[in-house]
Subunit: 275 residues, 2 copies
């Protein structure tokens, strides 16, 4: 088995399947931002079946932070509706393992942890609409500066379901004032990727004290003439899972997403059945 022999730059033009293969063989274990352009990237939540119904209800009730794009059968590590060969035990470059609400491990694969009652829930991710913003000439500061998007715990209540509840995590992107409407309109086309912004302007309106102190990710500059724009964030479900103190659950590590074969602008996130 090779070990991290592939650099990010080697994968810039690789297909989704090639990136997953590099990850699966441990040739690559980096972040996936900008890889397999045009393909859907996914946040992950893997949890015991007995929590899956409540978690799906939670996601249904909070579709902006938690847009479900794929759900596995119980105990089945494959996700055929997202990609023919996806093995969720190995096809993500970094996983986080949570036990009783605490991060206990960060690992390259979860083969040893896999259990017969695990259900994988794949959720849409902001990369999808960020690519669309960039394609349409709207600057995305953290991409330009090679940083992780700044994320903040807001005061926006989530709709609860079973043990899952809490506040929405949001991302912030500074957008030139004259492009805010366009950014809203473009992102609204991607309900599978958090959709339209959930807030614009003063961070205090959604309970954020200081934009220069994100709870996760890296701070970015808001320049003159720019407005901070907030979107629902896929860290929300990770946070909610943590707060629910499940005996065991597994997520991707931030930035290390599952790359699907589904086009990010497809009408649905479901690949057709193979005949």
């Amino acid at each position: 088995m090779t070990s991290h022999t592939t650099a990010y730059s080697d994968l810039k033009t690789a297909t989704a399947q090639q990136v997953r293969a590099a990850i699966r063989t441990r040739a690559y274990n980096g972040h996936t931002s900008g890889l397999a352009a045009g393909k859907l990237q996914c946040n992950l939540a893997i949890l015991p079946e007995r929590y899956a119904l409540d978690f799906l209800r939670f996601c249904q009730r909070n579709p902006k932070p938690c847009p479900v794009v794929g759900v596995s059968d119980s105990g089945d590590p494959f996700l055929p509706t997202l990609g023919a060969d996806i093995d969720i035990r190995s096809d993500v470059s970094k996983y986080r393992v949570f036990k009783d609400g605490a991060l206990t491990d960060e690992v390259d694969d979860i083969n040893a942890l896999w259990a017969d009652d695990f259900v994988t829930v794949a959720l849409g991710c902001s990369f999808t609409f960020e690519n669309a913003l960039a394609r349409n000439g709207i600057p995305v500061r953290h991409m330009e500066t090679g940083r992780n998007v700044p994320m903040y715990r807001s005061n926006i209540d989530l709709m609860p379901a079973g043990p899952f509840a809490g506040k929405m995590v949001v991302t912030m992107r500074p957008i030139p004032a004259h492009q805010v409407d366009q950014a809203r309109e473009i992102s609204a086309r991607y309900p599978q990727a958090h959709g339209a912004p959930i807030g614009i302007g003063d961070p205090a309106n959604i309970g954020i004290g200081d934009l220069s102190q994100p709870d996760w990710g890296d701070a970015v500059e808001v320049k003159d003439g720019e407005v901070p724009v907030y979107w629902a964030c896929g860290v929300t479900p990770q946070n909610v899972l943590l707060d629910a103190k499940l005996p065991l659950c597994i997520t991707h590590s931030p930035g290390h997403m599952l790359i699907a074969d589904v086009a990010e602008d497809a009408e649905t996130t479901i690949l057709p059945l193979k005949k």
Copy 2:
């Protein structure tokens, strides 16, 4: 208690809450097409909790026929994300009861049948995009002629989940050839209501033998210059539930939908939490 004292015409300008109140008090027990204009109407599936996870997986994998717009807590007859006062035991004008895969009863309310393990799944309905088509000057034949939309069993395989599988049921609307692209574009804006068409033209392409012989609903004329256009249909999940031969499940009767307080063109189908 009054009994069917309210006519359809009395409710033409009523709000969603007024229509539900008329249904709940048995003042009205008719169909809901065209009522509470602008509000989301829903197909219903009520089933024991032990089947709910598989059914939600089935819906997630078949989002065009089965767009989930609301899910109740187990045993809870209320659906606060769709309407503050919705009581699913009484707020639909006609229900169908299925036992072991057979229709055993059609009833005005399900108070006597309600069980502590029931989960209600509300699914989007074609009324939403039909209203949008009509608003945009695209004729909808069965609405013009006061009929039920023609529905057909297609040969399109559904993505299975647990006991749920089968073929997609589709609706057909004859659309003037020059308006087909517009009809596609308009309906695509409503993923919560079956989205874009799943087929256009020759019915044989999707396994329909004779358009004049629908499997459900009423045949409508396809005039010269019109093209038959097919959309995924909310009867699909009803059919799939029937085929799965659950010991017990309950649906609305065709045309007798749940009317929500959610606007049919809202970005999500979730009402915000009341403070």
